[in-house]
């Protein structure tokens, strides 16, 4: 009986050790937004036109190309902060500072390396990011981005406290 107890304790220690050394090694290449943040999507009434970025800023348009079936929330973070929350066939836009921006595609998506994207943003430019459930996020050609955006619904989001 004592041997079994010692064995179980040793096993627990080994698992704990493996996990702790794992955490020491684990490091996301791009920081996503806070995991515990709950967000509510809101859909403004009427058509929303895409403005030009303010002076000294760049604009990001993010679109979520969904597939058939139930739609779950997906999110795009920039430099560790969630900046857009979408369901399928929705889009949103926001301004960013020029320079290197680190993006992460999160929420109800599988964890894959194509959920990360680096973007060197230039002031005055608009960047179109297309996200999917299975292929992560990627920047698309502006002409293609505008075409997709026109078919989708504009949404914003608010953080639920």
């Amino acid at each position: 009986m004592i041997r079994i107890t010692v064995g179980i304790r040793l096993l627990c220690m080994l698992i704990l050790l493996a996990n702790i050394t794992g955490f020491a090694f684990a490091q996301e290449p791009v920081k996503c937004g806070p995991e515990d943040e709950k967000d509510k999507i809101t859909k403004p009434k009427g058509k929303q036109s895409l403005p030009a970025p303010a002076s000294g800023k760049a604009m990001v348009v993010v679109m979520y190309q969904g597939i058939i079936g139930k739609s779950y929330q997906v999110k795009l973070s920039v430099d560790g902060q969630w900046r857009a929350v979408l369901k399928k066939n929705q889009y949103s836009f926001f301004e960013i500072e020029p320079g290197v921006r680190r993006m992460c595609w999160g929420g109800r998506v599988s964890k894959r390396d194509d959920n990360f994207l680096l973007l060197t943003a230039r002031a005055g430019q608009t960047y179109y990011i297309l996200g999917t459930l299975t292929k992560g996020i990627s920047e698309v050609d502006p002409a293609e981005g505008v075409k997709i955006m026109k078919k989708y619904d504009y949404v914003t989001f608010e953080v639920q406290r």
């Binding site: 090694f25 290449p29 194509d114 680096l118």
Partner: protein
């Protein structure tokens, strides 16, 4: 008993941390060398798209780094090594989904539990550099388990010491 377990625990933890932070050094490459099994995850200024095909190629020479994606509409860019400021390498350890599935198929619940303990590591390198006009830029690569150490060593060898 408790004291000895704590000592073993601390030693193992320290070894793990040391192994992670010890700088790797390699010989200065005199000629260009090319690797396949590299993915590009964005960042190059004015270059649109990513390259998630393992068939893409990364060439490191003393004066420049060249990435050539595979397939049509493939990504291609060059970075002069003199413009590189920082190399940020990280290993991202995560659960191995394939091992969990294999465990479920072969060993049921016990197999799932064992499979959940199996981890695999993704290797990422971010190169921060300056464009010709002085603005900052960066590119991110995913490296393969079989080439990440060689590539990181080669990059460290060509990056100018600041």
């Amino acid at each position: 008993m408790r004291a000895s377990v704590t000592v073993i625990f601390n030693f193992a933890f320290a070894v793990g941390m040391f192994a992670q932070t010890t700088p790797q050094t390699g010989p200065q490459p005199q000629t260009a060398k090319t690797w396949s099994n590299v993915m590009y995850l964005g960042g190059a200024a004015d270059v649109r798209g990513k390259s998630l095909d393992w068939g893409s190629k990364l060439t490191i020479s003393p004066d420049r780094i060249t990435f050539q994606g595979k397939g049509k509409n493939s990504v291609r860019f060059e970075i002069p090594t003199v413009s590189i400021r920082v190399l940020d390498y990280s290993g991202h350890k995560h659960a191995n989904d394939g091992a969990v599935t294999a465990g479920l198929l072969t060993g049921g619940l016990a197999g799932v539990l064992l499979g959940a303990q199996a981890k695999s590591v993704d290797h990422y390198a971010i190169l921060e550099y300056e464009l010709a006009d002085g603005t900052p830029s960066a590119v991110m690569f995913r490296l393969h388990k079989n080439n990440h150490q060689e590539i990181v060593d080669a990059l460290r060898a060509v990056i100018p010491n600041k």
